[in-house]
């Protein structure tokens, strides 16, 4: 009986890193969107929070698409 611990560890490591990354980026995106609304109410510039939100959410989508690409390519 041989269990491929390295592969199981890889599933754990990769899943943890990807999910934490996605959650942090997504939550960051929501924080930035909140900041954007707040800025709009103060009638301040919304450029910075809009850019931050766009960046976070774009990064989220990229992570997911890259993951799917790896599965298809492998």
């Amino acid at each position: 009986m041989k269990i491929d611990w390295a592969a199981l560890a890889a599933v754990f490591g990769v899943s943890l890193a990807v999910v934490v990354g996605l959650v942090v980026l997504f939550s960051g995106g929501l924080r930035a969107l909140s900041a954007r609304e707040a800025a709009r109410e103060r009638q301040a510039s919304t450029a910075l929070p809009t850019a931050a939100a766009g960046l976070c959410l774009f990064a989220c989508v990229t992570v997911v698409l890259f993951g799917i690409y790896l599965i298809v390519a492998g």
Partner: protein, 377 residues
């Protein structure tokens, strides 16, 4: 019996199994999104069907695990595969009828292993490979999904605590739709593969394909279409599932749990680990319960579920062993197994129609998962 006729029967039976798998599992990926109002039922079900189809076409690693390794393909016949398949279907139907949540994937492995063991001897089953590619991932993957989901849920709540409610309400609904989509995709990459693997194995044992072959295109396409159709038509069950109080799961939790489960499934699919998507989804939901509140899981219910999981492989193995033995006796054996299979299915279908609203008949896997989850106080 003519070998090619038997192969056709096995292929059709495998596709029926695939269809019921999709039928059974729609709720796993889509129920939470419908419960939180993120998606309308009909949209959700169609969406899930398409993504299952796409997922099934993405990878064939799990199919290769099944067709090339867990049993010795030189020592089994299509009749034995047929017996294993019927064993799996019987076990699935009976557990569905009595409301016991169980994994169709493990039923399939159990049936195949049992049938091979009894008909061709214990050494025709590659137990080392079974432990490495099926049993170890079966234990590890739900734990991994649980731990990851726990951390993800904690982080999600922590990081968005100061975000505006108007933003998070909309945001997490969108996030939930995206994570449900991933879950459907992941389901296709793992569950549809099992049918492809079984059909490929049958073709190898019949001598149509060389040992170690990857599934041919028509096998990939037909398995993908069968699971997608099953997913679409399984939608009606969701309304029943919703009656079970699934709404105890909040949108951010659903987002965290589904993202974790989908990621674990896809990473495992990539390495050829054939796991139960249901078990991983349950692990994710329990983990997200713990991540939100440390006493957020009903351990009694969780323990009963784990016991049912442990029972599936040996029980389906037993039924598969019996069916495989009889089917390998010859034409009459195959006919007998098929007749018993159709008869039992018919009886269960009639029984379930006679009392269609008794809750234990519609206890779905997702509902059982939700039961492990304490109502938010």
């Amino acid at each position: 019996m003519d070998a090619s006729l038997l192969v056709i029967i096995v292929v059709v039976t495998a596709l029926v199994f695939d269809f019921t798998n999709g039928f059974h599992d729609t709720a796993n990926s889509m129920a939470t999104s419908i419960a939180t109002g993120a998606l309308r039922p009909r949209t959700a079900v169609a969406f899930s069907a398409v993504l299952n189809l796409v997922g099934a076409l993405l990878s064939v690693e799990v199919a290769k695990t099944i067709s090339g390794g867990i049993v010795d393909d030189a020592r089994i016949t299509p009749a034995i595969v047929f017996g294993g398949l019927i064993g799996a279907i019987m076990w699935n139907l009976v557990t569905w009828y009595v409301g016991l949540p169980s994994s169709s994937s493990h039923a399939l492995f159990g049936g195949l292993i049992g049938a091979t063991w009894i008909a061709s001897g214990a050494d025709a089953v590659h137990f080392a490979k079974v432990v490495d590619k099926v049993v170890a991932p079966a234990i590890a993957a739900p734990l991994v999904a649980g731990i990851v989901a726990m951390l993800a849920t904690y982080l999600t709540y922590r990081l968005t605590k100061r975000a505006r409610k108007s933003v998070t309400d909309k945001g997490f609904k969108a996030g939930q739709i995206a994570s449900a989509a991933l879950m459907s995709l992941a389901h296709g990459t793992n569950d549809a593969q099992k049918t492809m693997g079984i059909i490929t194995l049958t073709l190898i044992t019949a001598g149509t394909l060389a040992p170690g072959s990857a599934p041919p295109l028509w096998v990939i396409l037909s398995a993908a279409i069968a699971i997608a159709l099953g997913t679409y038509l399984g939608g009606w069950r969701i309304t029943h599932t919703l009656g079970k109080g699934l709404t105890t799961i909040e949108a951010p939790q659903g987002f965290a749990a589904q993202t974790s489960a989908a990621t674990v499934i896809m990473a495992s699919s990539h390495l050829g680990f054939a796991l139960s998507t249901t078990h991983v989804a349950s692990g994710g939901i329990m983990g997200s319960g713990l991540g939100r509140r440390l006493d957020g899981v009903r351990w009694g219910v969780a323990g009963r579920m784990a016991a049912a999981w442990g029972l599936t492989l040996p029980a389906a193995g037993l039924v598969g062993a019996l069916a495989g033995k009889v089917a390998s006796l010859g034409t009459l054996g195959v006919v007998a197994v098929a007749a018993v299979g159709v008869g039992v299915s018919l009886v269960i279908w009639l029984l379930s129609r006679r009392e269609p609203v008794r809750p234990e008949h519609v206890v779905d896997e997702i509902a059982a998962q939700a039961e492990t989850h304490k109502v938010a106080a």
